[in-house]
């Protein structure tokens, strides 16, 4: 009696085991193809030799903001960097203009936004918009490393993006260097005793910033404490975000001609700094690593 009942149980179990095996095979098939495609993708990333410079303009500026800067950069090199410009519309649509020349290993990509207003809320929105653009770019060009450049609020967008979005990519994309120019980490405050919400959020989340990154923060000054728009102290506040978190954090002060806030991207000295510290290739040759802040 007991034995008979147990056998019925055993049959039931075996039936379930057979179903499970079929289920496992059904899982194995899509898993196999998923693995193949994700490996292929990882290979493409690994083998990619492109290392773009991605630039983000500040508030009230458009994707055309860096045209002069790129022109000045290209004047000095034989291998011209191609320029791709993206604009993220408020609807989420992304438009492209310009293009990356085939074989260009170090193109310049500018990401602008239709909503280019100032303020912490807009920066959050812009970081999100930037992320969707970055996502498209990384899928399209499959670069495994890049350099970042941000003017004014562009640097804030980079910081916010690094703290909130970069972790999605860090497995296969490395951000090598970040240069911010005149970025007001503490908005218009002249002292870190008055912390803006944005600044304290940046400091709170700093541990998410990759530790192998080199950051250069450039300050322009017209008077002794401001570039005419952004107080020097607000740019200096960046050290509370980056210092002791990233591999190298360097600040530099530029004065003299074209040191006014909106002139900074056309400042000859800053162009030199970009060539020296951000670009990998100079005159078609690999940038001498000794020229860089050791990394």
């Amino acid at each position: 009696m007991l034995k008979h009942k147990a056998n019925a149980q055993q049959k039931k179990t075996y039936r379930l085991l057979i179903f499970t095996t079929i289920f496992l095979v059904l899982l194995a098939i899509p898993a196999y193809f998923w693995m193949q495609s994700s490996t292929r993708r990882a290979e493409q990333f690994k083998k990619s030799r492109m290392s773009p410079v991605i630039m983000v303009p500040g508030s009230s500026a458009t994707k055309e903001r860096f045209n002069t800067l790129v022109k000045m950069l290209n004047e000095d090199t034989k291998n011209k960097h191609s320029l791709l410009k993206l604009e993220v519309k408020n609807s989420g649509k992304i438009t492209y203009s310009g293009k990356i020349r085939r074989g260009d290993r170090e193109p310049i990509i500018v990401v602008g936004f239709e909503n280019n207003h100032d303020g912490y809320n807009n920066i959050k929105k812009q970081a999100k918009m930037f992320d969707s653009a970055f996502n498209e770019l990384s899928e399209e060009y499959k670069f495994n490393n890049f350099k970042a450049f941000g003017h004014s609020n562009g640097g804030l967008i980079w910081t916010y993006w690094l703290e909130h979005y970069y972790s999605d990519y860090k497995e296969h994309i490395t951000i090598k260097r970040l240069m911010t120019v005149g970025s007001p980490y503490n908005f218009n405050e002249t002292s870190t005793n008055n912390k803006t919400q944005m600044f304290s959020d940046f400091v709170d989340n700093r541990s998410k910033i990759p530790s192998n990154l080199s950051v250069i923060s450039v300050i322009g000054t017209e008077t002794y404490d401001s570039d005419g728009l952004v107080p020097e102290a607000s740019v200096q506040a960046g050290k509370y975000i980056y210092q002791k978190q990233v591999k190298h954090f360097t600040t530099m002060t530029v004065t003299g001609e074209d040191a006014e806030h909106s002139d900074l991207p056309q400042n000859k000295q800053i162009v030199n700094l970009i060539e020296q510290y951000i670009m990998d290739y100079q005159n078609g040759k690999r940038n001498n690593p000794q020229n860089k802040p050791k990394n």
Binding site: L2, K3, K5, A6, N7, Q9, Q10, K12, T13, Y14, L16, L17, T20, F23, L24, L27, A28, P30, A31, Y32, W34, M35, Q36, S38, T39, A42, E43, K46, K47
Partner: protein
């Protein structure tokens, strides 16, 4: 030989502590199973590194918010089930211990919870911190819960008086009971408070963190296979005890050596990776069919060997979580924890697996799995996917699984036999008592 083993087995099973443990585990099985299932959903289905999440391309069609809502729900469910098993265990173990000695089991139950809470309490250094060390309640440190419950039960045994269990209880009887239990309760809580004070001092001087950190360093994932085999042996032993907590080796999925292997296979067209016998990789690929201790093999062995309806129910309830490597249901249900019969296969068989795998890699029968597989990948598929679909690896994994099931069979057989014998003896004793 067989007879002697049966006798030893019965003797071990008759130890008071083990009897309490068996009863407690059986009672807590549903909670462990719910915890196991919710972990599967949380990790394999709705986490971004999850197996189902990836192969079903959830990220393409499921809104992020929906996935994270599901993940939150199942995280909550895991926290209150698996994350609280130690607390439940203290309660149930205290109850059964008190009952075994005919003491007031309800009061013991309460005291068990209070003692456990007291032990886990940390005096907050600033106002807003959560005052409990939650990990002490978790299933990863189950043994502590069992021990606390057992000791509380013993306190009732030594200090309390026997009670008669009545079906219907009036308030006055409860009050009488309560006054008798009050002193014991106070004493136990005071004792817990003193131990807790020591813990607090230790945590104030960061002793615990330092010890914990040095253990974690051992699991960073860069060791060769033979060191890993030793460490994993120790870890599986602790897991058998119900103490998987302090040394969680499943964590190491990324290390410099793993990355070196990965970047090698991504840029070359051969399998001569720099670290062919990397411990973590081999551990993850060949050690964990159905969670640690090769629980999938155990489950299949039980399915083949068992006759009783309860055993088959156990198998059927556990198939799904075990398939996705979540084994706490089976650990409680079989039970595996503190079960002498499963000790040898549970702890040693994985080492055998690992050595066979190292041998097969050395003879170039299979490549070293270098790709990272998603969390919750069914055990037999891990090596297959980790080698980007190498068929030999799949066949080798299935062969290993068959070997493992065969090795588990005699142990399962013996365990079932002793279990039957014990039940027969218990029944006889019951009849004797009634007569």
């Amino acid at each position: 030989m067989y007879k002697r083993l049966t006798r030893y087995g019965l003797a071990f099973r008759h130890l008071t502590f083990i009897r309490i443990v068996r009863r407690t585990l059986a009672t807590l099985f549903p909670i462990a199973l719910i915890g196991a299932c919710s972990r599967v959903f949380q990790q394999a289905f709705f986490s971004e590194e999850g197996f189902i999440y990836n192969i079903a391309y959830f990220y393409n069609w499921m809104p992020d918010k929906v996935a994270s809502a599901f993940r939150m729900v199942f995280t909550g469910l895991s926290r209150i089930t698996f994350g609280m098993l130690g607390l439940y265990a203290a309660m149930v173990a205290a109850k059964y211990t008190a009952r075994l000695y005919h003491r007031d089991d309800q009061m013991a139950e309460l005291t068990g919870i209070a003692a456990m809470l007291m032990l886990a309490f940390r005096f907050p250094r600033s106002g807003n911190t959560v005052p409990f060390v939650w990990s002490l309640f978790s299933g990863d440190l189950l043994f502590i819960g069992l021990l606390v419950g057992y000791l509380v039960g013993l306190a009732f045994r030594w200090l309390g008086k026997p009670v008669k269990f009545t079906v219907h209880e009036h308030v006055i009887t409860i009050r009488r009971r309560m006054y008798r239990a009050l002193k014991i309760m106070l004493l136990v809580i005071m004792l817990a408070l003193i131990i807790n004070g020591l813990f607090n001092l230790m945590s104030y001087f960061n002793i615990i963190d330092v010890a914990y950190g040095s253990l974690q360093d051992l699991s960073n994932g860069d060791q060769p296979a033979w060191i890993k085999a030793g460490l994993s042996f120790a870890a599986t032993f602790l897991e058998w005890l119900g103490m998987s907590g302090p040394y969680n080796i499943m964590n190491a999925t990324s290390s410099s050596a793993i990355n070196a292997n990965l970047s090698y296979v991504l840029t070359h067209n051969n399998w001569h990776v720099p670290y062919p016998f990397l411990g973590t990789t081999i551990y993850n690929s060949f050690w964990t069919f159905g969670g640690s201790g090769l629980c999938l093999a155990l489950l299949l062995a039980v399915a083949i060997e068992a006759r009783a309806i309860e055993d088959h129910k156990l198998v059927r309830w556990n198939i799904l979580p075990i398939l996705f490597n979540s084994n706490s249901g089976l650990l409680f249900g079989a039970p595996v924890l503190l079960n002498l019969f499963f000790f040898i296969p549970f702890v040693l068989l994985p080492v055998v697996n690992m050595m066979l795998a190292v041998g097969a890699i050395a003879l170039h029968i299979i490549p070293t799995p270098a790709y990272q597989v998603p969390i919750g990948t069914p055990g037999p598929l891990v090596a297959f996917l980790g080698t980007n679909g190498n068929w030999m690896s799949l066949i080798f994994s299935l062969l290993l699984l068959i070997i493992d099931v065969c090795c588990y069979l005699p142990f399962v057989k013996l365990s079932l036999k002793v279990e039957n014998e014990a039940q027969r003896l218990d029944q006889e004793a019951d009849e004797h008592a009634e007569a």
